[in-house]
Amino acid sequence: MTRLTSIPGLPPLLACLGILVVWELLARWYGLNGLPPASQALPQIPHILSDKESLIDMGESLRRMAIGYGLALLIAVPIGLWMGRSRYAAAFFNPLMMVIYPVPKAALMPIIMLWLGVGDASKTLVIFLGVTLPLIYHSYQGSRAVEEKLLWSASAMGLGGFARLWRVVLPAALPEILVGCKTGLVLALITMVTSEMIARQAGIGNIVFVSLDLGAYDTVYAMIVIIGMLGILFDVGFEVLRRRLVGWADSPHTIMVGSA
């Protein structure tokens, strides 16, 4: 077995195959309407991916996700770094985070829809909120853990306060920040889909629910598989980026992603 597991990519592939086999067998065994066999659902994937309208829907979803995620990066990382370096900033933002963190961001959707309507702005804001907190949290932890003597060495070289934050704290905290980015990426995907389930108009989540209403269960399952594949794609892409950015650091700890 050790030889098999050492082939890169093989164990996850086997796991996927296993799930498909179990799915197929269960579906055939029970013969339920709501559980079409894999052999029926999976062929829908190429259909969906070649359908212009669903592609536009997905593009819309991903665009919102990118905007929400990008905004969160721009705002959360500086706040987190600042919190890690200033007791006052930490004292101010920490209680706020404590209150907001456990609130499911999708639960805010009705309120946000009241303010901003059911369009892009609401959905992007929910994605932004979902991503912001883990990003702030990990940036904060990373910034707080920066060795004091790194900063001293830098200040002896003449780096001032802002330069130290930008050129020492940021790179030193980067491995931890990227842990937050990775968590945030998954959360962005989750909040993106949930927001579209609540404010149904367009997007990946909308396709899922419209198909559900129409009783097109094979499409529902196919979409769930597509969302899962998107998640894997993001994750793999992110790992490549991470290795390029922080290859100098020791390997990161494994990441558990909470739900949103």
């Binding site: 003597k149 060495s153 200040s155 002896a156 070289m157 003449g158 030193a172 100098w248 650091a249």
Partner: protein
């Protein structure tokens, strides 16, 4: 060169838990002098060094460097820490060049000077390595080169060889003396090794703990350049070590464990 005048440092962990780390320390160090500060752990010797570096503010007293009061860190005083404190995202070369580029030295010149220093600490072959790929002794040689790069007048060394094994440690002591002999910078060197202090220094300052204050200062009258192999056989070297070690033991026994 350095005048430490009545410096005290109190840490307030809580209102009822105050710790007087340094009590009224006065010491002056001449230009080009190599002075070691020796004492049991917790005697505030590192704190004293940090105050000279401008990293920590004294509760009372002041430090003058070339008659100017210390208000913060500056490139005239280069620190070398026990923890190496290399920038892990920079290569060996990048670390050594960092201070030079910060000081506005043109890239080509910074590169030439950094390579020269890496040759001096025998790490030319490693310029593209990252710190995590180096051994402890190599890391500390990079850290020394990085500090020497921006030409501080004063080196502040905080137990620089404390985290290294005995063999690497004596090797680096030799390297340091060799480098120091070239331009005789002023060095403040914190250590808890008596032998190391005697081997390197012109003067050894013995501190006692809780609160930290200067107990006695020893002039080490041994010829330079010094060679470890010769000194170990030298009666005067042995006498210094025995005498200071004896006092060190007394000091350590008085300190609360």
């Amino acid at each position: 060169m350095i005048a430490i005048e009545g410096v005290s440092k109190r840490f307030d962990a809580a209102r009822d838990r105050r710790h007087l780390a340094l009590n009224d320390v006065t010491l002056s160090v001449a230009e080009g002098e190599f002075v070691s500060i020796l004492g049991p752990s917790g005697c505030g010797k590192s704190t004293l060094l940090y105050i000279v570096g401008g990293f920590v503010e004294p509760t009372a007293g002041r430090v003058l460097v070339k008659d100017v009061p210390v208000r913060g860190p500056g490139p005239d005083r280069g620190p070398v820490f026990q923890e190496f404190a290399l920038f892990p995202w920079k290569t060996v070369l990048g670390n050594v060049m960092y201070g030079l580029q910060q000081g506005g030295v043109p890239r080509a010149e910074a590169l030439a000077r950094s390579r020269e220093l890496l040759t001096m600490v025998r790490l030319s072959a490693y310029e593209n390595f990252y710190p995590k790929e180096l051994s402890g002794g190599m890391k500390q040689r990079v850290a020394i080169a990085r500090t020497l790069a921006y030409r501080p007048n004063i080196l502040l060394m905080d137990e620089p060889f404390g985290a290294l094994d005995a063999h690497t440690r004596t090797g680096l002591q030799n390297d340091l003396l060799h480098i120091w002999d070239k331009d005789r910078k002023t060095v403040l060197f914190v250590t808890h090794s008596v032998e190391e202090a005697v081997f390197l220094s012109d003067r050894v300052v013995m501190m006692s703990s809780a609160p930290g204050r200067i107990k006695q200062i020893f002039d080490i009258d041994l010829p330079r350049p010094r060679s470890r192999a010769e000194l170990l056989l030298d009666r005067r070297f042995q006498d210094y070590v025995v005498e200071i070690e004896k006092m060190f033991d007394d000091t350590a026994q008085q300190a609360p464990a």
